[in-house]
């Protein structure tokens, strides 16, 4: 075999813009997007902003059972038609654009629960037609949940619930590290459902705080949370989860989220100028993550969030 070059393995590292275009193309086929992380932890915000910047609409958005800032930002951009997330809140306050759009009838927010969403993702990941659930009783959510069916348990004969597979066309994740093949390493305490979503979805695009040499992965394979097999593209984005946290690297930016929510509340009660300016400055304006970092307050601002992650 002399002289024949060894074929090269394809790197999955791409740019934020190319990742956004890849996602937009897939979501035009089927608009089901799923977001990783939980509430203000490890949310793929840079990918969300990049998708909003290249343009998206009519999305059906899923997530782990709790979301806030990102879904509110997507609704503010007019990108969302239906929300399939059980809990939508900034935790210390309500999501202003979510409230406004649902109350105005512009967005449908389904009544769901954690078992339905996680169960649907489990059915998809496992390749089975449904996941049984036997722990939902007494809530009005059961009268409205569009994803549940009642079935007879084949063993006990009892009436129980079933949820069919939830198969996102695209899932966005944020992890702390990956190698160039797309092996993801979540280093934060809470990973929650990211591994499940990766295995349940048609396409997975991940942002990471840094790309690491493949030796880092090979030296400690048990730290890989999502094997590259499930990952289609990976983007190195410094502070790519901001204003949510990416532990142990940086803490959530509560002041930024609060300031955004104040602008959202002003828009909800009639004055949208501040929110429009926010969107121009943080979503449509920046040409790169470097521009975004400057718009937020520069490296000194992020040094503070890094220190807070280290010191608690």
């Amino acid at each position: 075999m002399d002289g024949q070059a060894k074929p090269t393995r394809r790197s999955k590292v791409t740019s934020l813009q190319d990742a956004a275009r890849l996602a937009r193309g897939a979501l035009e086929e089927r608009p089901e997007l799923c977001l990783g992380g939980l509430f203000k932890q490890s949310r793929p915000i840079a990918l969300v902003r990049a998708l909003l910047a290249v343009g998206a609409d009519g999305l059906h958005v899923y997530s782990s059972p709790g979301a806030g800032f990102d879904i509110d930002l997507m609704i503010a951009s007019g990108a969302v038609a239906q929300v399939f997330i059980p809990g939508v809140t900034l935790e210390n306050r309500l999501c202003p654009n979510f409230r406004r759009a649902v109350e105005a009838g512009q967005v449908t927010a389904h009544a769901l629960d954690a078992l339905t969403v996680v169960g649907g993702l489990m059915a998809s990941a496992h390749g089975v037609p449904f996941q049984p659930i036997d722990a939902l009783r007494g809530s009005d959510v059961l009268k409205h949940n569009p994803l549940l069916r009642e079935i007879d348990c084949p063993f006990s004969g009892r009436r129980i619930h079933a949820v069919g597979p939830i198969r996102p066309r695209v899932t966005f994740l944020h992890a702390q590290e990956a190698d160039r093949w797309g092996n993801l390493r979540h280093l934060s305490t809470m990973v929650y459902a990211d591994q499940l979503m990766a295995r349940a979805s048609d396409m997975v695009i991940a942002s990471v705080d840094r790309i690491v040499p493949e030796e880092v992965v090979l030296d400690d394979p048990s730290r890989v949370t999502v094997p590259s097999h499930y990952v289609d593209a990976v983007v190195e984005v410094p502070y790519g989860a901001h204003p949510t946290a990416s532990f142990p690297n940086y803490a959530m930016d509560e002041e930024h989220i609060d300031a955004y929510a104040d602008l959202g509340d002003a828009a909800r009660t009639g004055d949208g100028t501040g929110l429009d300016a926010y969107m121009a400055r943080h979503v449509t304006g920046p040409k790169s993550q470097g521009d975004y970092i400057e718009a937020v307050g520069g490296t000194a601002h992020f040094a503070r969030l890094e220190a807070e992650a280290r010191n608690g």
Binding site: V88, L94, L115, L136, R137, G138
Partner: protein, 255 residues
Amino acid sequence: MSAAVSPLEQMVVVLARDLADGELGAAGAAALVPMAAIALARELHAPNLTVGGEMFFNPETGRLYPSMLDDRALGRCEAAETFIELFGHSHHGLDFFFHSGLQHDAYGNINLHHVGGTLHAPKMRGPGAANLSYCHTSSRYYICPTVHSARNFVETVDFITIPGHLSGPAAKRDAGLVNEGPRLVVTPRAVMDFDDTTLRMRLKSVHPGNTTEEVQRHTGFDLAIRGEVPQTRPPTEEELRVLRERIDTSGALRA
């Protein structure tokens, strides 16, 4: 103790006293008061109480955070939970859990979805809720909103997100709710429990500094007050000292 007891500190102490050694439970979404109560119980009388069911086992937090779903709060915990635990915990149940909402009604039902209008044409849309199972698969739960007014304590909620006792024993049985459900309602003003026969909420004790009449006036339904209502037992010196020195080191419960 020099500084006066805050309403949230009074709530924490009442809840902590009701948690037992060896139990398994979690704080729920609005976690400041419940998490402090769990931590206080573990410090004072329940060293073998396991925190589990909400993304982590046994956090060792240096101070209180408004949300426990924050790695600053969880930087030190014994283990992280993932979706793998969700189905098991939700079906097997915990010993205790905590809930609060936009509206709470006379039977302890909780609304987090909408006030006014309908689900898909709401006057005011709330956040919804993630876990709807712990309220009835767990042995019991506590209702602990940090506001107590005639606006959030109403005769009937507009939407039952978290079932309490529904409309009483028959409805509860028909829905298959077999456990205790809500045991105590602990607010900044008072403690309520539920009538054994009707399962309607009633006033149990009033926190120091509040009167029975005030509590009733700030409640949108009849609290079944008959005769003298006892005062809530205030925190002991020991409870307050441990709470302030070892748990709420940043004074979040007094802010």
